[in-house]
Amino acid sequence: MSELQAYQIQEAPYYQPQGNEVELYETAYRRRLPVMIKGPTGCGKSRFVEYMAWKLGKPLITVACNEDMTASDLVGRYLLDADGTRWLDGPLTIAARHGAICYLDEVVEARQDTTVVIHPLTDHRRTLPLDKKGELVQAHPDFQLVISYNPGYQSLMKDLKQSTKQRFVAMEFDYPETALEVEILASETGIAADLAEKLVKVGHAARNLKGHGLDEGISTRLLVYAAMLIQEGADPVSACRMALVRPITDDSDIRANLDHSIDMAFA
């Protein structure tokens, strides 16, 4: 267990359930089913996984996927040292060997052929062959695989293979309801409820523009940032421009409209 000490989550992360997702996840975990979490950016996917790992008392190994990632980045590779070569386990192998929850964040960013290495771990076999090393790792009983991705900005190039998709049970996340989002802002940052409500209003204006020039609306995460700036004493209008508008768009029309929505909301 000592290898995983560093991956243990010590303090309870703040998470506000939107529905019955906590119970569902626990049920899936009891049978160690692989879980896929979908949802727009900044809606709380990673926070949820962190929270569940803490709640279940399991270590969590997170891998942020990217296009240059190869199978050996996940599984492990030989390194050189003074006596010759030495095998180093990759994050997926560590998790499988010692029984952690392995979380592949934004998994579509990785190339499709890379993702195939997770296949034997995600069906009844629950094994991970390390062909370079000639070893077959049998997954620890506590091991579970979780992946997340954002279906919003997927292009034709960035999608999961059907054979990968069909190995997971899936949960869909979205930005929380207005009242809930206000509550989240308030408890994350301590901001007053009426200010939080205005922030959420601006957020909704941007979310309405999704597909009309915006790829993605203002996320809960950005709303939290804006609330933090306001809490630190920034003037609300400038804080919103800085946290909510400037990061998400370079389109002058959209920027003007969102700036206007801030003026209208905070007037």
Binding site: D68, T70, S72, D73, R77, Y78, L79, L80, G84, T85, K201, A205, A206, N208, L209, H212, G213, D253, I254, A256, N257, L258, H260, S261, D263, M264, A265, F266, A267
Partner: protein, 750 residues
């Protein structure tokens, strides 16, 4: 301050003009002038009038001068008196005497718009410049034909100056002169604003916030704020000044003015937003009311209360709207309307509307208005519906009605809230009423024949003389090329089978290899065990080891979209000297080979041809789309290719570019095959289409589309470089086109 007979006679004598008509009105005119002018000014005024009398154009100009000028001088200073008189003198020495009365008539209004003497000088220079350039001459040295457009221009001047800055006016006049100088009737029509062209130019030069510049932003505004989607249909206020159209919306879209100027510190864009917010609020919260049950007055009151209700709801969502609407809402003075002399219905309702918008600080003491404001607030908390507003409105009307409301003289001042629509959506007429008239209701019947064809795409054209775009100048029709016999192309390809074999070898080399293993890398994705072990041995043997022990996998792929644009003008039918083939056939061969080569490589290719028959009909013929494979349907279209008409290249380039722009490929290439310089039957100026095509090439460059020209005209070097910069190839021996074209493509994309 009155004058005695003697003084009056003195002044009359100094005005050297003996028309009887002047005697009658002179004392009156003199009285008016004395209010505006100093003693010296009076002298100048009389002298100016005497000068105008001398030009011998009757009494009318003199009278107009005497009447209008004192006021002008009062505004711009008295030096203007002499200047105007001199200008009239100058006009009279040209054949344009007819323009003198309108010149003088609009002077007062022009002066009010221009405000300074310098600007008036500029204005006069502009008028005289226009006069000189449009006054016709016979045999080149004497100006003898009066300018056809000048009187019309002058008559429209107050309106033009209300819409345009002096610079804009200059450009507008300049455009008219350049395009209609040889066509007197059209020139008249241009300067009297009867030509569509002149209105379009006017619109382009307008000051203020044009809808067309902000349509996208406003669409997003509706979407972001109100989650609504609507067509914004512009209407022009100046074109039907009589009907005085108001914004409205129905199923077909929202009708909004085509331009808004800034007002009360609110920008034009914000005025649009205020208008759209109001209409969107109606769309969300208003329900319909049966109109037949209420009198017109009752309906007006219901509209005011319903407007206020939806605004109240909207402001609860977006508090900032209050500030916006408040700045645009007129604020009627309580005592402004005299209830004995006018019908104060509108005034009273506007006051109510203002009070409802500003319940706290409206400052009115009108008992019933104050009571209604309180009742309104209460209703909004309890029973927030259109029906509740109807009840409130009926009560208000019943309690405030007075006898004078029936009068015909209605008080209009400060009562029009122009960011509100006309509320036609609110009413349900059980019997046909004649109150509402849609001013653009006349729907055109679309003939079935027309419906089958795609509507034209309009493109601007670059006018190098004015260094400006001619708006929506060229109509491009997209047509799918009719098919012919595919076997024809196959036979053509067979003829070139030797060439095809040679090309195949080059193509195989170019073909993308998906994964390439790059060895000997210091940093890489994987350890290259062979090398690593060798290095390790070196290390052990105390020899410098090679640190490059990793390898990397790389993707190697081509990402290119190509459009082949063929000039299909009449000249293609010519036979190539020294062979029995026409240019068209050679084009077909070359295209077939290129298409085959590109198919081998797997790049995306589209093929299109174009020709034109004046700017009203540029035909863009699709032969192969990006998504289509190089198969028999495409070959059939290529086989049926025909040549005719002229070469309006700029429009075709723009259209091909707009299609190519949407491609996602990394590299986008437009190959243009042409056999001569751009020309068309409706353009006399040879340089015009050349410059336009050049501009189009530049535009495409800005869009990151690489344009390359293949010219079949051996003499093309003169102009083609000017058009395409260094991206061209002139083929002297046209017979070799089938060979050259694929080669060029390969070398461009290697």
């Amino acid at each position: 301050m009155s004058l005695n007979e003697e003084e009056l006679a003195g002044f009359r004598q100094r005005l050297q003009c003996n028309f009887e008509q002047i005697d009658e009105v002179f004392p009156h005119l003199l009285m008016g002038a004395r209010n505006h002018l100093s003693a010296a000014g009076l002298e100048a005024w009389l002298e100016g009038a005497s000068l105008i009398c001398m030009i011998g154009r009757g009494v009318e100009p003199v009278l107009v001068y005497l009447e209008e000028m004192p006021e002008v001088a009062g505004q711009l200073g008295e030096t203007v008196l002499e200047r105007v008189a001199q200008a009239v003198w100058k006009l009279s020495r040209s054949p344009n005497g007819r323009a003198i009365p309108p010149f003088l008539q609009v002077m007062a209004e022009v002066a009010r718009r221009l405000r300074t003497c310098e600007r008036l000088a500029q204005y006069m220079a502009l008028v005289f410049d226009m006069m000189e350039r449009t006054t016709g001459s016979i045999h080149g040295f004497h100006a003898t034909q009066p300018s056809p457009g000048l009187p019309h221009l002058l008559r429209n001047m107050p309106y033009l100056l209300s819409q345009l800055s002096l610079d804009g006016l200059h450009r507008w006049i300049d455009y008219g002169i350049r395009h209609y100088s040889h066509h007197p009737q059209r020139q008249e029509a241009y300067f009297s604003l009867e030509l569509a062209d002149s209105r379009a130019m006017l619109h382009k030069e307008r000051q203020g916030c044009l809808l067309q510049d902000h349509e996208r932003a406003l669409g997003q505004y509706l979407q972001a704020f109100w989650q609504q989607d609507a067509w914004l249909v512009p209407y022009s206020e100046h074109l039907d000044a009589q009907t005085h159209p108001k914004p409205y919306f129905d199923e077909a879209g929202m009708r909004v003015p085509d331009v808004y100027n800034d007002r009360n510190g609110i920008s034009g864009l914000d005025r649009y937003r205020a208008l759209l917010a109001h209409m969107a609020a109606h769309r969300r919260w208003s329900s319909r009311v049966v109109a037949d049950n209420y009198s017109p007055l009752q309906r007006m009151a219901i509209e005011v209360l319903e407007d206020s209700r939806v605004e109240w709801l909207a402001m609860r969502q977006w508090p900032g709207l209050h500030g916006l609407w408040r700045s645009l809402h007129p604020r009627p003075e309580e005592s402004a309307c005299d209830e004995l002399r006018y019908s104060c219905v509108r005034h009273r309702l506007a006051m109510l509307s203002w009070a409802l918008l500003n319940p706290v600080d409206h400052g009115y003491r009108h008992e019933e208005i104050c009571r209604t404001v309180v009742a309104f607030q209460q209703a909004m908390q309890e029973d927030n519906t259109t029906q509740a507003m109807v009840r409130l409105a009926l009560t208000f009307v019943a309690r405030t009605r007075v006898q004078a409301d029936q009068q015909a003289t209605v008080w209009f001042e400060d009562t029009e809230v122009d960011y509100r629509d006309d509320n036609r959506h609110l009413w349900l007429f059980i019997e046909e009423g004649d109150e509402e008239e849609a001013f653009d209701k006349k729907k055109r019947e679309v003939s079935p024949e027309e419906a089958e064809r795609l509507p034209p795409r309009l493109y601007p054209e670059w006018d190098h003389q004015s260094q400006a775009y001619l708006p929506d100048w060229v109509s491009v029709y997209e047509i799918l090329h009719p098919p012919g016999e595919a076997a024809f192309i196959d036979r053509l390809l067979e003829r070139h089978s030797a060439l095809a074999r040679r090309m195949k070898r080059v193509l195989d080399l170019l073909k993308p290899q998906d994964h390439v293993r790059v060895r000997y890398q210091e940093e890489g994705s994987e350890l290259d065990l062979d090398i690593a072990l060798r290095s390790l041995i070196d290390y052990r043997c105390k020899v410098q080891p090679d640190p490059r022990i990793n390898f990397r996998l790389e993707h190697n792929h081509r990402d290119i979209a190509v459009t082949l644009l063929l000039d299909l003008s009449e000249s293609l039918n010519e036979t190539v000297p020294g062979s029995d083939q026409t240019l068209l056939e050679l084009n077909q061969e070359a295209t077939a080979l290129l298409a085959w080569a590109i198919e081998q490589l797997g790049d995306r290719l589209s093929i299109a041809g174009f020709h034109s028959n004046t700017r009203h009909e540029v035909r863009y013929l699709h032969i192969k789309g990006f998504g289509e494979a190089w198969d028999d349907t495409v070959k059939a279209r290529l086989a049926a290719m025909e040549a005719g008409w002229s070469t309006r290249m700029g429009a075709a380039l723009r259209h091909a570019g707009s299609l190519l722009e949407k491609r996602r490929e990394e590299k986008r290439l437009l190959l243009v095959v042409t056999d001569g310089e751009p020309s068309d039957v409706d353009v006399q100026d040879e340089e015009h289409l050349l410059q336009d095509a050049r501009k189009a090439v530049q535009e495409l460059g800005q869009k990151n589309i690489h344009v390359h020209c293949i010219s079949l005209d051996p003499k093309a070097d003169d102009y083609v470089q000017n058009l395409f910069g260094r991206q061209y190839l002139v083929i002297d021996k046209v017979e070799r086109l089938p060979e050259k074209l694929p080669q060029l493509f390969l070398s461009l994309t290697r």
